[in-house]
Symmetry: C2
Subunit: 171 residues, 2 copies
DNA sequence: GCCAAACCTTTGACATTTCAAATATCGTTC
DNA sequence: GAACGATATTTGAAATGTCAAAGGTTTGGC
């Protein structure tokens, strides 16, 4: 009986105005965070049980799956939002499992390009199909119109956040 | 420095590419995930720079701050969505820093209760104030009405997900 | 009272995560 | 063509994360 009374909250906002509104962003953030954790844990559990893979591995392979020619590790780092050093270890383990291949192009020896192997493509194909189904199942009770609306509005949040980051944007 | 203005990480576009056949739920999930990562990284960076604390430590202390009598480790684990073994280490490090105290009650020697110290309460108070401000700033461009709407709709998502978990409750 | 089941926490093996420092290579400049 | 700054990746230390197994401690049935 903790958070089923959103009507009460709305009333408070209307009545008290800016007072209560100050904590709106905090409450949204906490709810986003807990929901994301919940979904992540469920996906992690299923990836592990059904495919013996981890979520970061899945994310990384997803990037390589759409770029059949492979990606440089730095590019992988940006796309997965994972640090460089982390990508190194992830690719290393995936290579050990025969899912990914590392190549250094002739043109630039600083670069390492990671590519999915045939085995990696087959495995990821199966995981991706399952993954999409899991999400549909988990969100089955949400009105599709709401899903679309959420997608748009969260885009607005992301945009606002991107414009207010502290790191490296004051010239 | 060709990227001084494009430092914005728009994972979405890169990841999604042409978003043809992608299901709605999958797209929402990818956007939620990338947005949450973005905010988390920003909060992590600021906690580190301004308070020398980590995000998991902040989360754990937040729970103890609201329960001045302390919480059992299992309860902390549930509330922070962190595994038991992980809580053990987190509390251990916080105790080393003098922010948290561990007590075993007389009634049940299986139990360990963690409590914020005076030092811990002072530190958390400062962090919480800053934390709330950071979120307000980051979401400053989002219409408050949208924030409220998002809070409600994400609640619906969370509720749906909770009802479709494989792990523990189908009955 | 005893024993088995249930409960709470810790431990151990690994994987992931960040940051900073180190390495290696490339391009340009002089 | 040697040196310097920029670029790309790796490494290392410390923290966080999962899971499964192992420790102690109750608790309940007999």
């Amino acid at each position: 009986m903790t958070e089923s009374e959103s009507a009460t909250v709305d009333l408070e906002i209307i009545v008290q105005g800016a007072q209560e509104g100050k904590k709106l962003e905090l409450r949204l953030w906490l709810r986003m965070l807990s929901t994301t954790k919940l979904v992540s844990q469920e996906i992690r559990r299923r990836l592990r049980n059904e495919f013996g893979a981890t979520l970061p591995q899945f994310d990384l392979m997803a990037q390589l799956y759409r770029e059949r020619d492979g990606l440089r590790l730095g590019e992988l780092s940006k796309r997965t939002m994972v640090t460089n050093g982390n990508v190194t270890g992830l690719v290393e383990r995936l290579e050990t499992d025969g899912l990914v291949l590392r190549v250094t192009p002739d043109g630039d020896r600083r670069v390492t390009v990671a590519k999915l192997t045939e085995k990696g493509m087959v495995l990821f194909g199966a995981m991706a199909t399952a993954h999409e189904g899991w999400l549909r199942d988990m969100m089955a009770d949400v009105d599709p119109a709401i899903v679309t609306e959420l997608w748009q509005d969260i885009g607005a949040v992301k945009s606002s956040v991107s414009n207010h980051l502290s790191g490296s944007d004051f010239d």
